[in-house]
Symmetry: C2
Subunit: 198 residues, 2 copies
Amino acid sequence: MPRAAKFDEEQILAAAGRLIAAHGPSGATIAAIARAVGAPTGSIYHRFDSRDVLLASVWLRAAATFQDSFFEQLAGPTPREAGLAAALYMAQRVRENPREARLLLLHRREDFVDRGWPPAMRRRAEQLGRQVETELRAFSRRLCGSEHARTVRIVAYAVLEAPFAAVRRHIAVNESPPSYVDVLIQVTYEAVIGLLGI
Amino acid sequence: MPRAAKFDEEQILAAAGRLIAAHGPSGATIAAIARAVGAPTGSIYHRFDSRDVLLASVWLRAAATFQDSFFEQLAGPTPREAGLAAALYMAQRVRENPREARLLLLHRREDFVDRGWPPAMRRRAEQLGRQVETELRAFSRRLCGSEHARTVRIVAYAVLEAPFAAVRRHIAVNESPPSYVDVLIQVTYEAVIGLLGI
DNA sequence: GAGTAAATAGAATATGTGTTCTAAATGACC
DNA sequence: GGTCATTTAGAACACATATTCTATTTACTC
C-alpha cells in the first residue's frame, strides 16, 4: 500500500558519514545532509527523530564495525603475534577505509552530538567502551598473565595508542600511511611488550 | 581622561581558555565567556573584533608558549639526549599545565574558528606550523645528518607523536599522567631512534 | 478508479548565538 | 564642576540551523 521509498536510512547515514569525514561533525548539518542525498530536510526527519540520533548512529555504526575487526585480530591464537597483527591492522584499516578513519580518529565521540546523546544510544556507546576495556584486559591476561590496570594501559599503548599516533598525521592530511609507519608500529610494539618481561 | 577598564584582554582570554579546556571550543560562546568574566556581551566586542579573533588568539598564545618551551628542550647540546628530554617534557608539561594540554591536544586548530581564520592570525598560525617543521628538520640533521622527509617523520614520531599518544588518554579523562608513561615514552624513543642507525 | 498508508516536499517556525547599536557611567584633566 | 574620551551595559538585530507542520505525491489493494 505504501509509496515506494526514495531515500533510505542507509543512504542518509552514508551521506552524513562522508560529510563528517570531509568537514567534521559540525559540517553535517541537516541541510547539508539533505542536499547530499538530494532530499528535502523534512525527509531526513521522516527517518531519524533528530540530528543527534542521526549523528550518534553514524558514530556507533563506524565504531562497532572497526572494533569488531580490530578485536578479531587481537583474539588470534598466539597472543604476542595477535597483538602485533592488531597494531598493524590499524594502519592497514586506515589505508583501506580512510573515510572511516577520519570519522573515528579525528574526532571524539562527544564532538558528534550537540545536546547529549539520546539515552538508548548512550547505553550502546557505553557498551562499546566497555568492550574495549574488556577485550584489552583479556588480551593482557593472555599475554602476560596480569590484568593490573597499569599493565592493561601499557598493552593499550602498544596495540592502540602508538599505532594511532603513527598514522594520525597521515589521516589528518588525507594521505595513505606510507609503509614505514608499519615499521614504527612494530618497533614500538616489540619494545613496549618487552617491558612486560615475557 | 578615559574611564578605567574593568575587563582587560587577559581576563577574557583566560576565561575563554578555561571554557575551551572544560567544554571544547564550541563551549566558548560569547555569552559563556561574558558570564565567566562577569561582563555583558558588548564588552567582549569592545576588546575583540569577533569571536573568531578571540578564539584564534587563545589558540595562538597557547601554541606559541608550548612550542617555545618544547623546542628549547629539543635544542639542548647533545642531540640524542635533547630528543629524549623533549619527549619527556611533553608529559611533564601536561602534568604542570593540564588546562593548556586539553586546549592544545584535545582539539585541532581548525576546530577553534567557525568561519575561517582572520588573515593576520592565519599567517601567524602558518608561521607556527613552519616552526615545527623547521625545528624538527634541524634536529633530525643534528641527530643523524639527514633531512630526508621520511627521517624527519620518524623523528617527529619519536619526540612528539608517541609521547602525545602516551598521555592522550590521561588528558581526556582529566587526570595527571602517571609516572609509567615516562617509561613508555623513553622506551619508544630509544627503539625508534635506534632505527636510524646512529 | 477510488481508497489508503507511507513517503516526499518544502514552507513555516523556533531557538541559540554572533554581532551591532545606542545610552549611560566613569574618571582624568582643566 | 564641566568636558571629554573611553568603557560598560544590555537591549535589539541578524542569521544559521534544527525542527515542525501541512500539503501533495505515489504505489498498492480492492
